[in-house]
Structure formats: C-alpha cells, structure tokens
Amino acid sequence: MGIEHFVYQPLVKKGGALNSILISSIGVMIILINLIAIIFGNETQVISNEISNILHWYNTIITYNQIIQLIVSLIIISTFMIVLKYSSFGLAIRALRDDAILTDVFGYNIKRFRLALFAISGILVSISSNLVSIDVGFDPYIGMPMLLNTIVALTIGGIGTFNAAILGGYLLGLTQSIAVYFFDTKWENAITFIILLFILIIRPQGISGEKQRNI
C-alpha cells in the first residue's frame, strides 16, 4: 500500500499514461526482488524437509500439501465471487471498473478503494505463494515466472471480469499439464507463451472480455 501511495498515485495525478506506470512497476519489482535477495540470501529455502504424506487413489498420487492447496484456493475463489457479486463493497468495485470517473462523481473515494484493492490483491498473492512454498520451496526469483503465467492466464480469460480470470487460470493450468504430458517438460514455458501469442492473434479480448483490437 505504501508503494501504491508513493509510487503510483503521483504518476496518476500528473496524468502519466499507462506506460509510465508499467515501467515504474517494473522498477518496483526489481527493487523488491533484490532487497529480498540481499536480506535473505539467494538460495532456495524449504519449509520442511520431510517427505510428504500422500493420498493414493487408483493411479493418481496427490500429496497432502496439494490437497490443502486445492481446498484453500477453492474457498478463497468462492468467497471472492460471493463478495464481488452480493456485497455493496463488491458492487462498488465493479462500478469502479466500469467507469472510474462516474464512481468518483457519485461520491465514492476512489483513492481509498484503490488502496483497498491493492491490499486485497497483496493478501491473496501472499496466501497463494505460501501454499506453493509449502509444496516446493521458494527463492527470491520465483516471482517473475509466476507473474508471467498470471499474465497469460488473464489474457486468455479476458481482462474484464473476475470470473474470466478464474476461467483463464484453469484453462491455462490444464493446457500446460496436458501439453507437458505430450512434449518435454523443458518446453513448458515456450508452450505457455505460444498459447499467449495464439490467443492474442485469434481473440485478443480473451474468452469473455471487452473488445481490444485496434486498426
């Protein structure tokens, strides 16, 4: 939230275009990643060294950690969907997305909503990174590939609505796993980005987003 306040808001006030905000956010990411690397060291950390317990179900093997991941993420997603659809806070956020200036005119404090959104997204990201760290460990540099996967998932689903993002996430995860099953694992990233390029060419607004094509 401090970052939003000190870095992004002044740019928005000055009327900076999306490009400056994008570049500043890249700067923020570089600083944060390297600060963490300085303070905590560059090696991969693991939470526990034991072999995980597994659940053996016909031919599938799932670790207990992955079951926790599944349950927690399902709870969070459904909570979010319910809040967004049925609460007044959710209504205000959807209004903000549709037309920011009108929402301001109606008396909602946009700055505070933006700060709240940053806080919520920060919380959600930290929950998901905790879930992943328990499973496979972490180092200061795992953020970037995850961010790229997130961007691809968002683009596939479409930027407009929250449900679209969830749809995109599931589709991308499934497609990645299926593709890795047929090709080598080392091509996983390339496949992800070929999917991205494919979607951008065929249907840039994603599966259920707004029209984004120009010329």
Partner: protein, 290 residues
C-alpha cells in the same frame, strides 16, 4: 588499460543496441520487451556463421540482417494491430519463447552450455580483427555507422511520421497514412540493428549463452533508453553510457561482493522509478510518455 578498452567496447555495443531500441520505443512509442531476443538471435546466427562457414564480415552482416528482419515480421505482423498494452505482452511472449528455444534446443544452440570459441571476423579476406584494439576499432566504426544511420532516420520524413505516430495516431490515419506499414517497418529496422550489436558481442566475448539474452536484458536495454531520454539521438547514447559506466564506478565504492549484483539491480529499479516520476523525458530527451 585493457579494462578501459573493454568498457569502451561494451559502451559501443550498448550504444548500438540502445539507438536501435530507441527507434522503436522512443520514436514509435511501441514499448517492446523483446529486444534482447533479436540481440540474441543476431548473436547466435552470427556465431553459427563464424564458426562453421568462416564467412567474412560484410556477408555475415547481410545474412543476419535478413534473418532478423524475417523474425521481426513473424512477430510484428500479428501483434502490431493490438492496442499498446497487448503489444507489450506479445513482445514479452516472443522474448520468452526465444529464450526457451535457445535454452532448450540443445542439439542446435547447445543450450546452457553456450557456444564457445567464436573466432574473430575477417574483413576483406586478409584483414583480421586482432586483439582488443582491433575490436575497439571495429566496434567504434559500427557504432558510428549505426548512429549516423539512426540520426538520418530520426531527422528524415520517416522520422517525422514516427513522431506524428507517437503524438496522435488517429490524425495520421485520417491523413491517409498506412500506419501498420510504418510500425512494422520500424520494428524491422530496430531488429536488424540489434543483430549487428549481437554480432559484435558474440565475436568480442567469444562465448555466448542464452542467459545474456533473457527478459532481464530486455528490461535493461529499455531502462537505458528511458533513462537516457527519447526523441533525439543524444538520449539513447547517454543512456547506454550511463548504464554501463555507473556500475563500474560503483565497483570502486566497495559494496561487499555478496550484495553487489543485487545492489546494482536495486539502483536500476530506483533509477527507473525516479526518472518516471520526476523526469519522464530522461536525461536528454525531448519526449515524455504522456
């Protein structure tokens, strides 16, 4: 003395890279995260040609220019129709696909093992580029050539159309110009000159591997262009000098080795933020991102 010559050569290489990127990012306002991919493609193809066929200098330049132009068409034709933000994503996708292919296609590119023992280029059949002084001369000549060409491009009718493109695209369409053609052509020109930089890099360092051409490098080149300034020829030159010389100066301050690399990255991140906030024009630019 060799140390200063090495810095001088690296500055030359990065000036070539930055003025080429500046044509796309500064003049055309098309932020592309894929520049290091073209740099890498140029470096890899020139090393193939140098090692296997012992081509001489000018044929290699021509061949890698054509190859890079083809690759640039492959990415630009579909994605330049998209709105600005999506083009950034598409270029990032291209960068990462290229990096993954370079890294994993071990039979051709030797992946993370890299290609070593790249010989120096031969000019005119008997004149070979000898030692570090030879590369100083070579890189300076190429740098001056590229800078001169870019200068002509910026201050030509083509450059004026690019300026119009970045200021007000819709007016340009209404005046009847085919802006897709101009965007594709700009992208192709910048990719071609990135290949030249890659060629000099490959033959000077005599060892290349995919990690020098990843997303981090793309961001680095972008940062150099933005810090230096856009809109004129001084900007990217100053930016390249800045980002190459600054870490060398910091080396003498005496940061402990364990945090030196991360510390350098932090300074870049801060420089990006500070410049975007307080001086979006960069050190010597005339155009700020509005």
């Amino acid at each position: 003395m060799d140390y200063f010559l090495h810095i001088f050569i690296m500055v030359n290489i990065y000036i070539i890279l930055c003025v080429s990127t500046h044509l796309l990012v500064g003049m055309g306002n098309l932020i592309s995260m894929g520049q290091a991919a073209f740099y890498g493609i140029g470096a890899y193809f020139s090393s193939f040609l140098l090692i296997s066929c012992h081509f001489s200098f000018v044929p290699i330049l021509i061949i890698i220019s054509c190859i890079n132009a083809l690759f640039s068409l492959f990415i630009s034709l579909p994605s330049l129709r998209l709105k600005g933000d999506y083009f950034v994503l598409a270029s990032m996708g291209f960068q990462l696909i290229t990096f993954t292919v370079l890294y994993n296609w071990i039979s051709v590119t030797k992946g993370p093992y890299g290609i070593s023992g790249i010989p120096s280029p031969i000019i005119w059949g008997s004149v070979k580029v000898e030692g570090i002084v030879g590369f100083v001369v070579l890189s300076s000549i190429i740098m001056i050539l590229v800078t001169y060409l870019q200068y002509q491009l910026i201050y030509s009718p083509f450059g004026r159309i690019l300026k119009a493109l970045r200021e007000d695209e819709i007016t340009l369409i209404s005046l009847g110009r085919n802006i897709l053609y101009f965007k594709v052509f700009t992208f192709m020109l910048s990719a071609v000159f990135m290949a030249w930089g890659g060629f000099i890099y490959a033959s000077y360092i005599t060892y290349i591997d995919p990690s020098s051409f990843d997303l981090r490098e793309s961001i680095f080149i972008l940062a150099a262009v933005l810090i230096g300034g856009t809109g004129n020829i001084k900007g990217p030159i100053l930016g390249a000098v800045f980002v190459i010389v600054l870490p060398e100066i910091l080396r003498f301050i005496g940061l402990p080795d364990s945090i030196a690399a991360s510390g350098r990255q932090i300074i870049y991140g801060m420089a990006l933020i500070i410049f975007m906030r307080f001086r979006p024009k960069g050190i010597a630019g005339v155009f700020s991102f509005e």
